[in-house]
Protein backbone atom coordinates (compact mmCIF):
# COMPACT_ATOMS: atom_id res chain seq x y z
CA UNK A 1 0.00 0.00 0.00
CA UNK A 2 1.19 3.46 -0.85
CA UNK A 3 2.58 5.45 2.08
CA UNK A 4 0.05 8.11 2.90
CA UNK A 5 -0.83 10.37 5.78
CA UNK A 6 -3.17 7.61 7.01
CA UNK A 7 -0.25 5.14 7.24
CA UNK A 8 1.63 7.44 9.64
CA UNK A 9 -1.52 8.01 11.70
CA UNK A 10 -1.97 4.24 12.04
CA UNK A 11 1.65 3.75 13.15
CA UNK A 12 1.23 6.47 15.81
CA UNK A 13 -2.03 4.91 16.93
CA UNK A 14 -0.50 1.45 17.32
CA UNK A 15 2.45 2.88 19.21
CA UNK A 16 0.11 4.73 21.58
CA UNK A 17 -2.03 1.59 22.09
CA UNK A 18 -5.18 3.39 21.00
CA UNK A 19 -8.16 1.67 19.33
CA UNK A 20 -8.29 1.30 15.55
CA UNK A 21 -12.06 1.77 15.49
CA UNK A 22 -14.31 3.53 17.98
CA UNK A 23 -18.07 4.04 18.06
CA UNK A 24 -19.20 6.67 20.53
CA UNK A 25 -22.94 6.80 21.25
CA UNK A 26 -23.81 6.25 17.58
CA UNK A 27 -27.46 6.26 16.50
CA UNK A 28 -29.02 6.02 13.05
CA UNK A 29 -32.52 5.54 11.70
CA UNK A 30 -34.21 5.20 8.35
CA UNK A 31 -37.68 6.54 7.57
CA UNK A 32 -38.58 6.88 11.22
CA UNK A 33 -37.24 3.48 12.32
CA UNK A 34 -34.28 3.56 14.70
CA UNK A 35 -31.76 0.96 13.48
CA UNK A 36 -28.92 1.67 15.93
CA UNK A 37 -29.37 3.36 19.30
CA UNK A 38 -26.44 4.73 21.31
CA UNK A 39 -23.92 2.15 20.13
CA UNK A 40 -20.55 2.48 21.88
CA UNK A 41 -17.61 0.12 21.51
CA UNK A 42 -14.02 0.07 20.33
CA UNK A 43 -11.77 -2.37 18.50
CA UNK A 44 -8.10 -2.53 19.50
CA UNK A 45 -5.17 -3.17 17.15
CA UNK A 46 -4.91 -6.85 16.23
CA UNK A 47 -8.30 -7.65 17.70
CA UNK A 48 -10.95 -9.78 15.96
CA UNK A 49 -14.33 -8.45 17.00
CA UNK A 50 -17.24 -10.79 16.25
CA UNK A 51 -20.56 -9.06 15.81
CA UNK A 52 -23.50 -11.25 16.73
CA UNK A 53 -27.22 -10.70 16.88
CA UNK A 54 -30.55 -11.56 15.34
CA UNK A 55 -31.22 -10.65 11.68
CA UNK A 56 -32.37 -7.07 11.21
CA UNK A 57 -30.51 -5.87 14.29
CA UNK A 58 -28.43 -3.27 12.44
CA UNK A 59 -25.18 -5.22 12.05
CA UNK A 60 -24.67 -4.48 8.34
CA UNK A 61 -25.57 -0.83 8.92
CA UNK A 62 -22.92 -0.70 11.64
CA UNK A 63 -20.40 -2.13 9.18
CA UNK A 64 -21.21 0.52 6.58
CA UNK A 65 -20.97 3.22 9.25
CA UNK A 66 -17.52 1.95 10.20
CA UNK A 67 -16.35 2.43 6.61
CA UNK A 68 -17.97 5.86 6.26
CA UNK A 69 -20.32 4.60 3.55
CA UNK A 70 -23.24 6.09 5.49
CA UNK A 71 -23.27 8.80 8.14
CA UNK A 72 -24.77 8.44 11.63
CA UNK A 73 -27.61 10.70 12.78
CA UNK A 74 -25.87 11.29 16.12
CA UNK A 75 -22.66 10.17 17.81
CA UNK A 76 -19.12 9.94 16.60
CA UNK A 77 -17.13 7.27 14.77
CA UNK A 78 -13.33 7.36 14.87
CA UNK A 79 -11.34 5.23 12.44
CA UNK A 80 -7.57 5.10 12.87
CA UNK A 81 -7.99 7.78 15.54
CA UNK A 82 -9.74 10.31 13.30
CA UNK A 83 -13.38 11.27 13.44
CA UNK A 84 -15.20 10.50 10.19
CA UNK A 85 -17.17 13.72 10.65
CA UNK A 86 -14.01 15.80 10.29
CA UNK A 87 -12.86 14.09 7.09
CA UNK A 88 -13.39 15.52 3.62
CA UNK A 89 -14.60 13.24 0.81
CA UNK A 90 -11.03 12.88 -0.44
CA UNK A 91 -9.74 11.95 3.03
CA UNK A 92 -12.52 9.40 3.36
CA UNK A 93 -11.46 7.71 0.12
CA UNK A 94 -7.83 7.75 1.31
CA UNK A 95 -8.88 6.20 4.60
CA UNK A 96 -10.95 3.50 2.88
CA UNK A 97 -7.89 2.43 0.91
CA UNK A 98 -6.56 1.14 4.27
CA UNK A 99 -9.71 -0.84 5.02
CA UNK A 100 -10.67 -4.14 3.39
CA UNK A 101 -14.36 -4.90 3.19
CA UNK A 102 -16.08 -8.17 2.37
CA UNK A 103 -19.71 -7.59 1.45
CA UNK A 104 -22.62 -9.85 2.35
CA UNK A 105 -23.31 -10.67 -1.32
CA UNK A 106 -19.61 -10.37 -2.32
CA UNK A 107 -20.30 -7.28 -4.51
CA UNK A 108 -17.77 -8.31 -7.15
CA UNK A 109 -17.61 -6.16 -10.29
CA UNK A 110 -19.48 -8.36 -12.75
CA UNK A 111 -17.82 -6.90 -15.85
CA UNK A 112 -14.32 -7.70 -14.57
CA UNK A 113 -12.72 -11.14 -14.29
CA UNK A 114 -11.35 -12.51 -11.02
CA UNK A 115 -7.86 -11.13 -11.64
CA UNK A 116 -9.12 -7.60 -12.32
CA UNK A 117 -11.56 -7.74 -9.42
CA UNK A 118 -8.83 -8.75 -7.00
CA UNK A 119 -6.32 -6.32 -8.49
CA UNK A 120 -8.79 -3.40 -8.51
CA UNK A 121 -7.15 -1.53 -5.62
CA UNK A 122 -3.65 -2.07 -7.02
CA UNK A 123 -4.71 -0.78 -10.45
CA UNK A 124 -6.06 2.32 -8.72
CA UNK A 125 -2.66 2.81 -7.06
CA UNK A 126 -0.92 2.37 -10.46
CA UNK A 127 1.21 -0.52 -9.19
CA UNK A 128 3.47 -2.09 -11.84
CA UNK A 129 1.44 -4.71 -13.84
CA UNK A 130 4.01 -7.47 -13.26
CA UNK A 131 3.87 -6.91 -9.49
CA UNK A 132 0.07 -6.73 -9.65
CA UNK A 133 -0.11 -10.15 -11.32
CA UNK A 134 2.31 -11.67 -8.80
CA UNK A 135 0.33 -10.30 -5.85
CA UNK A 136 -2.99 -11.44 -7.35
CA UNK A 137 -1.65 -14.97 -7.80
CA UNK A 138 -0.25 -14.92 -4.24
CA UNK A 139 -3.51 -13.78 -2.70
CA UNK A 140 -5.55 -16.19 -4.83
CA UNK A 141 -3.30 -19.00 -3.59
CA UNK A 142 -4.08 -17.79 -0.06
CA UNK A 143 -7.81 -18.28 -0.71
CA UNK A 144 -7.08 -21.41 -2.82
CA UNK A 145 -8.62 -20.05 -5.98
CA UNK A 146 -5.63 -19.56 -8.28
CA UNK A 147 -7.26 -21.70 -10.97
CA UNK A 148 -10.19 -19.32 -11.24
CA UNK A 149 -8.04 -16.30 -12.11
CA UNK A 150 -9.56 -15.83 -15.59
CA UNK A 151 -13.16 -16.55 -14.66
CA UNK A 152 -15.91 -13.95 -14.40
CA UNK A 153 -18.07 -13.62 -11.24
CA UNK A 154 -21.08 -15.14 -13.04
CA UNK A 155 -19.10 -18.37 -13.54
CA UNK A 156 -18.30 -18.74 -9.81
CA UNK A 157 -20.25 -20.44 -7.02
CA UNK A 158 -21.36 -18.48 -3.94
CA UNK A 159 -18.44 -19.76 -1.85
CA UNK A 160 -15.91 -18.95 -4.58
CA UNK A 161 -17.29 -15.42 -4.87
CA UNK A 162 -16.90 -14.93 -1.13
CA UNK A 163 -13.29 -16.12 -1.37
CA UNK A 164 -12.59 -13.75 -4.28
CA UNK A 165 -14.16 -10.99 -2.20
CA UNK A 166 -11.81 -11.84 0.68
CA UNK A 167 -8.86 -11.87 -1.71
CA UNK A 168 -9.89 -8.43 -3.00
CA UNK A 169 -10.16 -7.15 0.56
CA UNK A 170 -6.75 -8.37 1.70
CA UNK A 171 -4.60 -7.77 -1.39
CA UNK A 172 -3.69 -4.24 -0.36
CA UNK A 173 -2.65 -5.50 3.11
CA UNK A 174 -5.26 -3.39 4.91
CA UNK A 175 -5.01 -2.31 8.52
CA UNK A 176 -8.64 -3.11 9.23
CA UNK A 177 -10.90 -5.71 7.61
CA UNK A 178 -14.68 -5.58 7.77
CA UNK A 179 -16.37 -8.93 7.04
CA UNK A 180 -20.12 -8.60 6.52
CA UNK A 181 -21.53 -12.13 7.01
CA UNK A 182 -18.84 -13.88 4.96
CA UNK A 183 -20.33 -17.29 5.86
CA UNK A 184 -23.96 -16.28 5.30
CA UNK A 185 -25.98 -18.61 3.10
CA UNK A 186 -23.13 -21.07 2.52
CA UNK A 187 -23.09 -24.80 3.17
CA UNK A 188 -21.15 -25.95 6.29
CA UNK A 189 -18.10 -27.15 4.34
CA UNK A 190 -17.69 -23.92 2.36
CA UNK A 191 -18.49 -21.96 5.49
CA UNK A 192 -15.66 -23.75 7.26
CA UNK A 193 -13.28 -22.88 4.43
CA UNK A 194 -14.17 -19.19 4.87
CA UNK A 195 -13.68 -19.43 8.66
CA UNK A 196 -10.28 -20.98 8.06
CA UNK A 197 -9.37 -18.06 5.79
CA UNK A 198 -10.44 -15.55 8.43
CA UNK A 199 -8.44 -17.40 11.13
CA UNK A 200 -5.46 -17.62 8.77
CA UNK A 201 -5.64 -13.86 8.10
CA UNK A 202 -5.96 -13.18 11.85
CA UNK A 203 -3.06 -15.42 12.92
CA UNK A 204 -0.73 -14.85 9.96
CA UNK A 205 -1.17 -11.13 9.31
CA UNK A 206 -2.58 -10.11 12.73
CA UNK A 207 -4.96 -7.71 11.00
CA UNK A 208 -7.61 -6.00 13.08
CA UNK A 209 -11.05 -7.13 11.97
CA UNK A 210 -14.74 -6.77 12.58
CA UNK A 211 -16.82 -9.76 11.52
CA UNK A 212 -20.56 -10.28 11.35
CA UNK A 213 -22.00 -13.74 11.65
CA UNK A 214 -25.45 -15.11 12.40
CA UNK A 215 -24.18 -18.53 13.41
CA UNK A 216 -22.86 -18.93 16.93
CA UNK A 217 -21.14 -22.14 15.89
CA UNK A 218 -18.98 -20.21 13.40
CA UNK A 219 -18.26 -17.52 15.97
CA UNK A 220 -17.07 -20.04 18.56
CA UNK A 221 -14.99 -21.87 15.94
CA UNK A 222 -13.20 -18.57 15.33
CA UNK A 223 -12.65 -18.08 19.05
CA UNK A 224 -11.40 -21.60 19.78
CA UNK A 225 -9.22 -22.31 16.74
CA UNK A 226 -5.89 -21.10 15.45
CA UNK A 227 -3.95 -21.45 12.23
CA UNK A 228 -1.07 -23.91 12.28
CA UNK A 229 1.65 -22.59 10.01
CA UNK A 230 3.55 -25.90 10.02
CA UNK A 231 0.60 -28.07 9.05
CA UNK A 232 -0.96 -25.26 6.99
CA UNK A 233 -4.40 -25.87 8.42
CA UNK A 234 -6.75 -24.67 11.15
CA UNK A 235 -6.73 -26.57 14.43
CA UNK A 236 -8.32 -26.33 17.87
CA UNK A 237 -6.34 -24.38 20.43
CA UNK A 238 -4.99 -27.08 22.81
CA UNK A 239 -6.40 -27.57 26.33
CA UNK A 240 -9.63 -25.80 25.53
CA UNK A 241 -7.77 -22.55 24.97
CA UNK A 242 -9.38 -19.45 23.54
CA UNK A 243 -7.96 -16.90 21.11
CA UNK A 244 -7.48 -13.93 23.42
CA UNK A 245 -7.56 -11.41 20.59
CA UNK A 246 -11.10 -12.48 19.71
CA UNK A 247 -13.90 -10.57 21.42
CA UNK A 248 -17.67 -10.41 20.98
CA UNK A 249 -20.21 -7.66 20.50
CA UNK A 250 -23.88 -8.63 20.55
CA UNK A 251 -26.56 -6.35 19.11
CA UNK A 252 -30.28 -6.68 19.69
CA UNK A 253 -32.84 -4.26 18.31
CA UNK A 254 -30.11 -1.74 17.54
CA UNK A 255 -28.60 -1.72 21.04
CA UNK A 256 -25.39 -3.26 22.35
CA UNK A 257 -26.43 -6.00 24.77
CA UNK A 258 -22.99 -7.52 25.24
CA UNK A 259 -19.40 -6.36 24.78
CA UNK A 260 -16.71 -8.68 26.10
CA UNK A 261 -14.57 -11.79 25.79
CA UNK A 262 -15.58 -15.30 24.76
CA UNK A 263 -15.52 -16.51 28.38
CA UNK A 264 -17.65 -13.60 29.56
CA UNK A 265 -20.17 -14.39 26.84
CA UNK A 266 -20.38 -18.09 27.65
CA UNK A 267 -20.75 -17.33 31.38
CA UNK A 268 -23.27 -14.52 30.99
CA UNK A 269 -26.25 -14.37 33.36
CA UNK A 270 -28.32 -12.17 31.07
CA UNK A 271 -31.54 -14.17 30.32
CA UNK A 272 -31.89 -12.92 26.72
CA UNK A 273 -28.20 -13.65 25.96
CA UNK A 274 -28.45 -17.10 27.56
CA UNK A 275 -31.47 -17.91 25.38
CA UNK A 276 -29.65 -16.53 22.34
CA UNK A 277 -26.45 -18.53 22.81
CA UNK A 278 -28.19 -21.69 23.89
Amino acid sequence: MADTLVSSQISELIAAGKPMLEFDNVSIGFEGNQVLVGVTFSVAHGETRILLGPAGGGKSVLMKLANGLIEPDTGEIRVFGRSLKEMTQRELFEMRAHIGMVFQESALFDSLNVEDNVAYRLHEEHVDPVEVHERVVEVLQFVELEKAIDKFPAELSGGMRRRVSIARAIISRPDLILYDSPMGGLDPITSNTIIELVVKQRDVSHTTCLLITHRLQDAFTLATHRYNLQKLCMESIPDGGIATETRFLVLNEGKVVFDGTTLELTHTEDPWLRRYIE
Binding site: K64, N67, R96, F103, F109, Y120
Partner: protein, 259 residues
Protein backbone atom coordinates in the same frame (compact mmCIF):
# COMPACT_ATOMS: atom_id res chain seq x y z
CA UNK B 1 -52.66 4.69 -4.62
CA UNK B 2 -51.00 6.67 -1.80
CA UNK B 3 -51.22 10.46 -1.95
CA UNK B 4 -48.51 12.65 -0.45
CA UNK B 5 -48.97 16.14 0.89
CA UNK B 6 -47.93 19.10 -1.33
CA UNK B 7 -45.38 20.06 1.33
CA UNK B 8 -43.74 16.63 1.28
CA UNK B 9 -43.80 16.64 -2.53
CA UNK B 10 -42.15 20.08 -2.65
CA UNK B 11 -39.48 18.97 -0.18
CA UNK B 12 -38.77 15.85 -2.24
CA UNK B 13 -38.49 17.95 -5.39
CA UNK B 14 -36.07 20.38 -3.75
CA UNK B 15 -34.00 17.46 -2.43
CA UNK B 16 -33.85 15.94 -5.94
CA UNK B 17 -32.71 19.24 -7.47
CA UNK B 18 -30.12 19.61 -4.69
CA UNK B 19 -28.76 16.08 -5.16
CA UNK B 20 -28.68 16.50 -8.93
CA UNK B 21 -26.87 19.84 -8.65
CA UNK B 22 -24.30 18.37 -6.26
CA UNK B 23 -23.70 15.45 -8.62
CA UNK B 24 -23.24 17.82 -11.57
CA UNK B 25 -20.93 20.07 -9.58
CA UNK B 26 -18.74 17.22 -8.42
CA UNK B 27 -18.67 15.57 -11.86
CA UNK B 28 -17.47 18.83 -13.45
CA UNK B 29 -15.01 19.63 -10.63
CA UNK B 30 -13.43 16.18 -11.05
CA UNK B 31 -12.35 17.11 -14.59
CA UNK B 32 -9.89 19.59 -13.11
CA UNK B 33 -8.28 17.35 -10.46
CA UNK B 34 -6.45 14.03 -10.20
CA UNK B 35 -6.93 11.11 -10.57
CA UNK B 36 -8.44 11.18 -14.06
CA UNK B 37 -9.79 8.03 -15.68
CA UNK B 38 -8.64 8.66 -19.25
CA UNK B 39 -9.00 5.02 -20.39
CA UNK B 40 -12.57 4.89 -19.07
CA UNK B 41 -13.31 8.12 -20.93
CA UNK B 42 -12.11 6.63 -24.22
CA UNK B 43 -14.11 3.45 -23.59
CA UNK B 44 -17.21 5.58 -23.05
CA UNK B 45 -16.45 7.63 -26.16
CA UNK B 46 -16.39 4.42 -28.16
CA UNK B 47 -19.57 3.13 -26.56
CA UNK B 48 -21.52 6.41 -26.70
CA UNK B 49 -20.08 7.99 -29.83
CA UNK B 50 -19.20 5.17 -32.20
CA UNK B 51 -22.03 3.01 -30.86
CA UNK B 52 -24.61 5.72 -31.57
CA UNK B 53 -23.33 6.41 -35.09
CA UNK B 54 -25.76 4.10 -36.99
CA UNK B 55 -28.91 5.51 -35.37
CA UNK B 56 -27.67 9.08 -35.75
CA UNK B 57 -26.81 8.59 -39.44
CA UNK B 58 -30.14 6.91 -40.22
CA UNK B 59 -32.22 9.39 -38.22
CA UNK B 60 -30.43 12.37 -39.76
CA UNK B 61 -30.68 11.03 -43.30
CA UNK B 62 -34.38 10.18 -43.21
CA UNK B 63 -35.26 13.40 -41.38
CA UNK B 64 -33.59 15.30 -44.23
CA UNK B 65 -35.56 13.20 -46.75
CA UNK B 66 -38.89 13.89 -45.06
CA UNK B 67 -38.08 17.56 -44.61
CA UNK B 68 -37.35 17.94 -48.32
CA UNK B 69 -40.60 16.19 -49.27
CA UNK B 70 -42.71 18.27 -46.88
CA UNK B 71 -40.96 21.52 -47.73
CA UNK B 72 -41.38 20.99 -51.46
CA UNK B 73 -45.16 20.60 -51.07
CA UNK B 74 -45.48 23.90 -49.18
CA UNK B 75 -42.93 25.81 -51.25
CA UNK B 76 -44.61 24.72 -54.52
CA UNK B 77 -47.65 26.79 -53.52
CA UNK B 78 -45.48 29.91 -53.60
CA UNK B 79 -43.48 28.82 -56.63
CA UNK B 80 -40.39 28.63 -54.45
CA UNK B 81 -39.54 24.94 -54.70
CA UNK B 82 -35.95 25.91 -55.51
CA UNK B 83 -35.57 27.07 -51.90
CA UNK B 84 -35.89 23.51 -50.63
CA UNK B 85 -32.14 23.34 -50.07
CA UNK B 86 -32.19 26.48 -47.97
CA UNK B 87 -35.04 25.24 -45.82
CA UNK B 88 -33.60 21.76 -45.30
CA UNK B 89 -30.12 23.09 -44.48
CA UNK B 90 -31.30 25.74 -42.06
CA UNK B 91 -33.72 23.37 -40.31
CA UNK B 92 -31.16 20.62 -39.98
CA UNK B 93 -28.27 22.78 -38.78
CA UNK B 94 -30.19 25.02 -36.40
CA UNK B 95 -32.82 22.71 -34.97
CA UNK B 96 -33.49 19.19 -36.15
CA UNK B 97 -29.91 17.97 -36.24
CA UNK B 98 -29.06 18.94 -32.65
CA UNK B 99 -32.45 18.05 -31.13
CA UNK B 100 -33.01 14.75 -32.89
CA UNK B 101 -29.43 13.63 -32.28
CA UNK B 102 -29.83 14.57 -28.61
CA UNK B 103 -33.09 12.66 -28.33
CA UNK B 104 -31.74 9.57 -30.12
CA UNK B 105 -28.55 9.50 -28.05
CA UNK B 106 -30.63 10.11 -24.93
CA UNK B 107 -32.87 7.13 -25.73
CA UNK B 108 -29.85 4.94 -26.28
CA UNK B 109 -27.35 6.18 -23.70
CA UNK B 110 -29.23 7.83 -20.83
CA UNK B 111 -31.11 4.54 -20.49
CA UNK B 112 -27.87 2.58 -20.79
CA UNK B 113 -26.15 4.63 -18.11
CA UNK B 114 -29.14 4.49 -15.75
CA UNK B 115 -29.49 0.72 -16.11
CA UNK B 116 -25.75 -0.01 -15.83
CA UNK B 117 -25.18 2.19 -12.80
CA UNK B 118 -28.54 1.17 -11.33
CA UNK B 119 -27.58 -2.52 -11.54
CA UNK B 120 -24.26 -1.73 -9.91
CA UNK B 121 -26.07 0.17 -7.16
CA UNK B 122 -28.54 -2.58 -6.29
CA UNK B 123 -25.80 -5.25 -6.27
CA UNK B 124 -23.66 -3.11 -3.89
CA UNK B 125 -20.94 -2.67 -6.53
CA UNK B 126 -21.07 1.11 -6.06
CA UNK B 127 -20.60 0.64 -2.29
CA UNK B 128 -17.78 -1.82 -3.01
CA UNK B 129 -16.11 0.78 -5.23
CA UNK B 130 -16.36 3.37 -2.45
CA UNK B 131 -15.12 0.81 0.06
CA UNK B 132 -12.10 0.19 -2.17
CA UNK B 133 -11.25 3.89 -1.99
CA UNK B 134 -12.57 4.95 -5.40
CA UNK B 135 -14.95 7.86 -5.85
CA UNK B 136 -17.78 6.48 -8.06
CA UNK B 137 -18.54 9.97 -9.40
CA UNK B 138 -14.95 10.36 -10.52
CA UNK B 139 -14.73 6.85 -11.93
CA UNK B 140 -18.20 6.44 -13.45
CA UNK B 141 -19.87 9.83 -13.95
CA UNK B 142 -17.07 12.16 -15.07
CA UNK B 143 -15.83 9.91 -17.94
CA UNK B 144 -19.42 9.52 -19.18
CA UNK B 145 -19.99 13.26 -18.96
CA UNK B 146 -16.84 14.15 -20.88
CA UNK B 147 -17.42 11.42 -23.46
CA UNK B 148 -21.07 12.34 -24.07
CA UNK B 149 -20.48 16.08 -24.42
CA UNK B 150 -17.48 15.53 -26.71
CA UNK B 151 -19.05 12.86 -28.91
CA UNK B 152 -22.50 14.42 -29.17
CA UNK B 153 -20.89 17.52 -30.67
CA UNK B 154 -19.43 15.47 -33.53
CA UNK B 155 -22.48 13.23 -33.84
CA UNK B 156 -24.57 16.36 -34.40
CA UNK B 157 -22.26 17.50 -37.20
CA UNK B 158 -22.58 14.06 -38.79
CA UNK B 159 -26.34 14.15 -38.35
CA UNK B 160 -26.52 17.60 -39.97
CA UNK B 161 -24.45 16.37 -42.91
CA UNK B 162 -26.56 13.24 -43.32
CA UNK B 163 -29.78 15.26 -43.11
CA UNK B 164 -28.61 17.64 -45.82
CA UNK B 165 -27.51 14.65 -47.90
CA UNK B 166 -30.94 13.03 -47.40
CA UNK B 167 -32.68 16.25 -48.45
CA UNK B 168 -30.46 16.49 -51.52
CA UNK B 169 -31.15 12.85 -52.39
CA UNK B 170 -34.94 13.36 -52.31
CA UNK B 171 -34.68 16.71 -54.12
CA UNK B 172 -32.66 15.25 -56.96
CA UNK B 173 -34.27 11.82 -57.34
CA UNK B 174 -37.92 12.53 -56.50
CA UNK B 175 -38.45 16.27 -56.89
CA UNK B 176 -36.15 16.49 -59.93
CA UNK B 177 -34.38 19.57 -58.58
CA UNK B 178 -30.84 20.56 -59.40
CA UNK B 179 -28.39 19.09 -56.88
CA UNK B 180 -25.86 21.90 -57.27
CA UNK B 181 -28.58 24.48 -56.68
CA UNK B 182 -29.73 22.61 -53.55
CA UNK B 183 -26.31 22.76 -51.94
CA UNK B 184 -25.59 26.27 -53.17
CA UNK B 185 -28.79 27.81 -51.73
CA UNK B 186 -28.30 25.82 -48.55
CA UNK B 187 -24.74 27.09 -48.17
CA UNK B 188 -25.71 30.71 -48.86
CA UNK B 189 -28.54 30.58 -46.31
CA UNK B 190 -26.24 29.74 -43.41
CA UNK B 191 -24.58 32.49 -41.40
CA UNK B 192 -22.11 32.28 -38.53
CA UNK B 193 -24.84 32.51 -35.87
CA UNK B 194 -26.71 29.49 -37.29
CA UNK B 195 -23.65 27.29 -37.04
CA UNK B 196 -22.88 28.47 -33.50
CA UNK B 197 -26.49 27.83 -32.45
CA UNK B 198 -26.43 24.34 -33.92
CA UNK B 199 -23.15 23.48 -32.25
CA UNK B 200 -23.90 24.95 -28.81
CA UNK B 201 -27.05 22.88 -28.36
CA UNK B 202 -25.34 19.45 -28.32
CA UNK B 203 -23.03 20.64 -25.53
CA UNK B 204 -26.06 21.19 -23.31
CA UNK B 205 -27.79 18.02 -24.52
CA UNK B 206 -24.68 15.93 -23.85
CA UNK B 207 -24.44 17.33 -20.34
CA UNK B 208 -28.11 16.55 -19.69
CA UNK B 209 -27.92 13.00 -21.09
CA UNK B 210 -24.87 12.01 -19.03
CA UNK B 211 -25.82 13.67 -15.75
CA UNK B 212 -29.48 12.61 -15.80
CA UNK B 213 -28.60 9.03 -16.81
CA UNK B 214 -25.96 8.76 -14.08
CA UNK B 215 -28.12 10.54 -11.48
CA UNK B 216 -31.03 8.12 -11.87
CA UNK B 217 -28.61 5.18 -11.99
CA UNK B 218 -26.89 6.14 -8.76
CA UNK B 219 -30.20 6.83 -7.02
CA UNK B 220 -31.65 3.41 -7.90
CA UNK B 221 -33.29 1.45 -5.10
CA UNK B 222 -35.64 -1.51 -5.09
CA UNK B 223 -33.83 -4.26 -6.99
CA UNK B 224 -34.38 -5.06 -10.65
CA UNK B 225 -37.76 -3.33 -10.64
CA UNK B 226 -36.01 -0.19 -9.43
CA UNK B 227 -33.49 -0.48 -12.29
CA UNK B 228 -36.34 -0.55 -14.80
CA UNK B 229 -37.98 2.45 -13.14
CA UNK B 230 -34.72 4.44 -13.13
CA UNK B 231 -34.12 3.66 -16.80
CA UNK B 232 -37.56 4.93 -17.80
CA UNK B 233 -37.25 8.04 -15.63
CA UNK B 234 -33.82 8.83 -17.05
CA UNK B 235 -35.04 8.72 -20.67
CA UNK B 236 -38.19 10.75 -19.93
CA UNK B 237 -36.39 13.38 -17.85
CA UNK B 238 -33.47 13.78 -20.25
CA UNK B 239 -35.74 14.00 -23.33
CA UNK B 240 -37.95 16.65 -21.76
CA UNK B 241 -34.94 18.61 -20.51
CA UNK B 242 -33.25 18.48 -23.92
CA UNK B 243 -36.31 20.06 -25.56
CA UNK B 244 -36.69 22.60 -22.75
CA UNK B 245 -33.03 23.62 -22.90
CA UNK B 246 -33.25 23.70 -26.71
CA UNK B 247 -36.00 26.31 -26.39
CA UNK B 248 -33.95 28.38 -23.93
CA UNK B 249 -30.77 28.19 -26.02
CA UNK B 250 -32.71 29.15 -29.17
CA UNK B 251 -34.11 32.19 -27.35
CA UNK B 252 -30.64 33.12 -26.17
CA UNK B 253 -29.13 32.73 -29.63
CA UNK B 254 -31.87 34.82 -31.22
CA UNK B 255 -31.08 37.44 -28.61
CA UNK B 256 -27.37 37.31 -29.45
CA UNK B 257 -27.39 36.87 -33.24
CA UNK B 258 -30.78 38.38 -34.03
CA UNK B 259 -32.07 35.32 -35.98
Amino acid sequence: MRFISPEAYAKTLVAVVQDYSLLCGRAVANIFSHPRYIADTFTQMDSIGVGSLPIVVLTGFFTGCVLALQAAVSLKTFGAVNMTGELVTLSMVKELGPVLTGLMVSGRNASGMASELGSMKVTEQIDAMRALGTDPIRKLVTPRLVATVFMLFFLTIISDACGIAGGAFVSVTMLKLNGGNFFHTGYLSLVHGDIVEGLVKPLFSGFIIATIGCYYGLKTTGGTRGVGRSTTQAVVASSVLIILVDFLVTQLMIGIFGR
